[in-house]
């Protein structure tokens, strides 16, 4: 494969994944509004198109066409960079996520993944840790007390929970002996559901620690203090309007999807079937690829559903509770999980 072909394939893959990701983000918003509506015994969006299915497109058009207001007191360069940084980091991390079996057509590099990186897991962690700046700079450059308070809360929360998040993944990495996401999935796919890291792998505690830390990382309920509406009017994006506000909004939902993807890959066998070899694989490449894509999307969808369900049911934490929970419970538990997993692996 020449370098020109490689570049063309890469551009194609990036374009397709970006479009799919942005559509997924738009429809996750609709999913949330619909589900929260049903939880609160109302309909949610139902006017635009059948079942309100065109609502995200109309919302997008609205954000584009609204007047773009920049308040007078802001520090302009950073105020303008912050939403780009937030959305950019949220979209980049999907680049190392594998969506399905490595198939290739007509001498192409493996489809269903933009880049197969040796240190895929670390890349995701690194990109998310850069994403903090989008929020921190947005709050500071807005020059408003609500924004600054929201940004400070958010950065403190992100820095605290990043530790528990990173440590909870070490058990999985120890079991797989690799940071490559494909290797991690293939290692747990031998017997279907029985060997998934969450069941056969004994990483069930790690999974729950990861899930809680990830909810805090994405600023989602019950840890949504950075944008607690009743106290901060909107948190770090109080002073943003139109498309710039929409970019923060999209970044949040893109991060949710990434968290769902990582949880699926690390704990739930990625794109592999839960029934293992009980269902023999089709001999057709397209059916196998489609089936793997189906399982992956189904699992990620389940995580998004859980996100909305949790938001619809749980009240918000108090700030000191949040910090205590992160440092005194999640982090020690994550360290215990590492020790236990290491002992088990050494004993085996």
């Amino acid at each position: 494969m020449t370098i020109l072909q490689f570049i063309l394939w890469s551009v194609l893959k990036v374009a397709v994944v970006t479009v799919v990701m942005l559509l997924a983000v738009a429809y996750t918003v609709l999913l949330e509004r619909k589900l929260v509506g049903r939880i609160q015994n109302r309909w949610g969006p139902s006017r635009v198109g059948p079942f309100g299915l065109l609502q995200p497109l109309v919302d997008g058009a609205k954000s584009f066409l609204k007047e773009d207001i920049i308040p007078t007191g802001v520090y302009r360069p950073l105020y303008l960079i912050a939403p780009i940084l937030a959305l950019g980091c949220a979209l980049i991390s999907i680049g190392v996520v594998p969506f399905g079996v490595p198939v290739s057509i007509a001498g192409s590099p493996p489809l269903f993944q933009i880049a197969n990186v040796n240190i895929g897991l670390l890349v995701i962690l690194a990109v998310t840790s850069i994403g903090v700046y989008g929020i921190a700079l947005a709050g500071w450059s807005s020059n408003s007390k609500y924004s600054l308070l929201g940004a400070l809360r958010s950065s403190a929360q992100l820095v605290s929970y990043e530790l528990a998040l990173g440590l909870s993944l070490v058990g999985v990495v120890l079991r797989a002996g690799s940071l490559n996401l494909r290797v991690i999935v293939e290692q747990q796919a031998t017997q279907g559901m029985l060997t998934w890291n969450i069941f056969g792998g004994g990483q069930i505690f790690a999974f729950f620690i990861y899930l809680m830390a990830a909810y805090a990382e994405t600023n989602r309920s019950p840890f949504d203090l950075p944008e607690a509406e009743s106290e901060l009017t909107g948190g770090y994006h109080t002073e943003y309007s139109s498309m710039k506000f929409a970019m923060f909004f999209m970044a949040e939902y893109a991060n949710m999807i990434t968290v769902g993807c990582v949880a699926t890959l690390l704990f739930f066998g990625g794109w592999t079937s839960p029934f293992g070899d009980l269902i023999p694989p089709f001999e057709n490449v397209f059916f196998d690829a489609g089936l793997s894509l189906f399982w992956f999307v189904l699992k990620v969808f389940a995580f998004l559903f859980l996100y909305v369900w949790v938001r619809g049911t749980l009240p918000r934490f108090r700030y000191d509770q949040l910090m205590n929970f992160g440092w005194r419970w999640l982090m020690p538990l994550a360290i215990l999980n590492i020790v236990a997993t290491s002992l088990w692996l050494a004993y085996r």
Binding site: I3, N118, A126, S129, I130, L152
Partner: protein
């Protein structure tokens, strides 16, 4: 390909470093430092040190610099002021730095048997790195971790000391 990337990111790195010195607002300087660190991570990657590159971004650009910006935001540090001291530091500082760098470079260039680093496709995998770290370099590795532990305990002790004074020695 490697050479082009090296030149581009070395350029970013230098531009960030110069911008860091020229900016008068602390938050701009902090952001320039982040640019420097991220482009350094790319240079590590070009040299085949993938784990080091990721660790550089996660630890330095992601965690430590967040604390920097945090402090700048909390203290609401404004533009720097030129005083007699800072002017003197400007006059003496640059020649001094150049002299020290020249000495270090001369010593390194004249030392024999240091091994070479070159831009390459070969990548030192994380397994190889950890194998060396936990066998050949075990003692320095553990000593460093103890050093960091001492620093953590010191920080906790200092913070606790302040707390006791404020609450009246409870």
């Amino acid at each position: 390909m490697h050479l082009i990337l090296f030149i581009v990111f070395a350029g970013f790195c230098l531009a960030g470093a110069i911008n860091l010195l020229l900016q008068s607002h602390p938050i701009n300087s902090a952001l320039s430092l982040i640019v420097v660190m991220v482009s350094l991570a790319v240079l590590y990657l070009l040299l085949g040190a993938e784990f080091l590159a990721a660790a550089q971004v996660i630890v330095y650009a992601g965690a430590i610099m967040v604390l920097f910006t945090f402090v700048i935001m909390l203290l609401n540090a404004s533009r720097e002021e030129r005083t007699l001291g800072s002017r003197a530091a400007l006059r003496v500082g640059f020649p001094a730095v150049v002299a020290i760098l020249a000495i270090i470079a001369t010593v390194i260039l004249h030392t024999q048997g240091l091994g070479v680093a070159r831009l390459s496709d070969g990548i030192t995998s994380t397994e190889e790195l950890s194998a060396v770290l936990f066998t050949k370099l075990l003692l320095p590795f553990e000593v460093t971790s103890v050093l960091i532990l001492i620093a953590i305990l010191g920080a906790v002790a200092l913070a606790g000391h302040d707390e006791r004074e404020r609450t009246g020695g409870k």
